[in-house]
């Protein structure tokens, strides 16, 4: 790695990495928006919200905590990654508490993966803010 690359690597953003991480988790793409990357933020927002919405439209299951089933706990952890989308789904009682039709199983996976992708994008915003990722 050249000195210029190292200098770029060590260059930190004005936004705190923790703030970028939290904003990115709460609202998909918000971390990138704070870091002045609006196109990436818009693409992430559209992708994650679309995944979550398709999951809800397919009558996928929205996991809840404290069911005692280890697989449900993992599903809940994945769903929770969606941030405000998961909160809205719980508040407005979107989705189903159990899979009713075969295609709803796909919906459940769409919802969980939307949460996991949101965590990936929030961590990416953290890496950009801390200087671990160049650009």
């Amino acid at each position: 790695m050249s000195k210029a690359d190292q200098a770029l690597l060590n260059k930190k953003s004005a936004i705190s990495p923790a703030v970028a991480l939290f904003a990115g988790w709460l609202i998909p793409g918000a971390g990138h928006l704070l870091l002045k990357k609006p196109i990436r933020a818009a693409l992430l927002f559209v992708s994650i919200v679309a995944m979550f919405s398709i999951g809800i439209a397919l009558e996928g299951k929205v996991y809840t905590p404290n069911t005692g089933d280890i697989l449900d706990i993992l599903g809940f952890a994945g769903d929770l990654g969606s941030g405000i989308l998961y909160i809205l789904a719980r508040v407005f009682e979107l989705g189903h508490s159990s899979v009713q039709i075969a295609i709803a199983d796909y919906g459940t996976k769409f919802i969980v993966v939307a949460g996991l992708l949101n965590i990936v994008s929030a961590v990416d915003a953290h890496s950009l803010a801390s200087g671990r990722k160049l650009s």
Binding site: R40, L43, L44, S47, I48, A50, M51, I54, A57, L58, E59, I103, Y106, K109, F110, V113, L117, V120, S121, V123, D124, K133, L134, S135
Partner: protein, 58 residues
């Protein structure tokens, strides 16, 4: 909402590839290339796995 199995594969692959492209590469050109690579891998991987399962059954 109803959707075909292949339609679900395409939608899943498309949106997931966008996120992977943006988060796993630094340069815009490389993001597009990696996103396209992931999309192809998802779709053709699913088709290959489907044929594999069909062969196991028959």
């Amino acid at each position: 909402m109803t959707i075909t199995h292949f339609g679900a594969v395409l939608l899943f692959s498309f949106f997931t590839s966008i996120v992977f492209g943006i988060t796993q590469r630094s340069e815009p050109k490389m993001m597009i290339r990696f996103g396209a690579f992931c999309f192809a891998l998802f779709v053709f991987g699913t088709i290959a796995a489907s044929w594999g399962m069909w062969l196991i059954k028959h």
